[in-house]
Amino acid sequence: MQTMCAVLAGIMVAGSIYLILDRNLIRFIFGLILAGNAVNLLIFTAGRLESRRPPLIPDKMTMGQELFANALPQALILTAIVIGFALLSFVFILFYRAYQALGTVDTELMRVAEDDGDDYRPESGPAGGRPV
């Protein structure tokens, strides 16, 4: 089971890298989702898999009697999922705004920030509207 999970995580990472290396931002997002899930699976597997003994301590005892499942990796994954979800929502909106403003999802064509400075638009005063 452990080996299978490890191999599966490896395949998912490979797939996500393939998608992330694409110039199209939509594919990048799919790569990111896949990579996030692969990482969660990896943490889960690295924390050892155990399906028979739950992490419960018998009544009137301070420690479990034998080896039991580790609950911490699941807590870590939960945190990672929450954070990943927040980041993903942000990335979706950012890419959508970038698509609206720049008219493309091809990263090769996104050269506005690193142009040669030919279009000269002088501006001073505070960024973002009237001064305070």
Binding site: A46, R48, L87, F90
Partner: protein, 498 residues
Amino acid sequence: MSELLILPIILPLIGGAAAVVVRKSVRRSFRLAFTGAALHTIAGSLLICQVHIDGIFATQIGNWPAPFGITLVADHLSAAMVMITAVINLAVTFYSKADIGIDLVRRGHYCLLQILAGGICGAFLTGDIFNLYVWFEVMLMASFGLLVLGQSKTQLDGGVKYVTINLLSTLLFIIAIGLLYGLTGTLNMAALYQKIPLVANRGLLTALAVLFLTAFGIKAAIFPLFFWLPAAYHTPPVSVSAIFAGLLTKVGIYALIRFFTLVFAIDTAYLHFLLLAMAALTMITGVLGAAAQNEFRRILSFHIISQVGYMVLGLALQTRLALAGTVFYLIHHIIVKANLFLVSGVVRQLQGTFELARLGGIYRSNGWIAALFFIPAFSLAGFPPLSGFWAKMILIRASLDIHQYWLAFIAAAVGLLTVYSMTKIWGEVFWKPAPEANQLTDRVTARSISVWMLAPVTALTVLTIIIGLGAELVFKFALQAAEELSHPALYVRAVMGN
């Protein structure tokens, strides 16, 4: 005493939350942010005093004993970093008053700024690697927001690159955390220091060390992982790029120092060489990249990269003096770099652009501002008696001490090339007469500069001079920090309590 460890994190976070509530009122937003930043600075000063008097101290959040719960730890290095974060936060908050318009304030500029400061301090103070990951994310989210808040084309373009590469770096970071936990069964840095020598699978350990190096290397913008930085740092408003330039890459450096002096404080000849080579190449590519640029903030962005190389150099040399050099360099660099970005904003205010070719004549029209550029710029390049000279001297001395002559040579040569870039800005922006074209754009230029901009720039410049003249005191502090870094047992004792 344990409150001192929590305050520098919680104060900006409370400030950030309150700023969401009052963001519609511009005046109250600023007052709140200013109060938050001032309190943050006070908390930082108290923390640094406490650490300097009593040495490393730690607190266990929720009273969970050390290797199980989340630990917050402050040693000389993290206390100094927290203090300097607070100072830069205060300066940038001040500067934002003149630099940030109503729209951006209403969209939550001050809120994100404070959350960013809180996240950075959290990363400096935590003693737990998973918690470090969480603080990295807090910091990243706030920085994503700040970077694209204006929603201009360039910001969105820079934002896409910044966001994508940083997400990849956090993925690598968390993969490495998961595997390290699988190997050792702990996430506490002090416990990792004790457990890692017992791990049988040394090969996997080296692979993990390289994973961490890559993840933090992307954050710190070291060679060959730096390409995102000059693509993004010149796009947001000046106050935002100043706090990014001062602090964000340095969190990566801090994490590298923490990991390679504490967690992977093992025999890593292979890594050692890798770090040295990366440091040298980072210095060289950064400074050469800067020489090719003709935009004020992009030159400065490339110089962040070359300066980061110096800090990695000190870490790679691993001697006590070299580590002290890195700490000194961090303190000096954050102040100087943030200040130079702030000055670039003052120049933009005067002449409406960052393009060197279209700027000019500021020495003649505003001599005071020329002086405010001159001091940090030549401190960056390493002119005595300014702070950068001492920082570079310690590092070069440390490389000579262990007979790394070629590294000492590269460090000195990169210093000289830095002078080239700084004199280029000096000549183009301040010295040469203003180009004729500027007359046409007279209407967009400001005649006088707001005191909200000049005050923080002047204060940071004075701080640079103080560090330069009082270098011995700062050096003693840095040596103490290096002492702690090269004796992880002190840190472990403070955390584990035995």
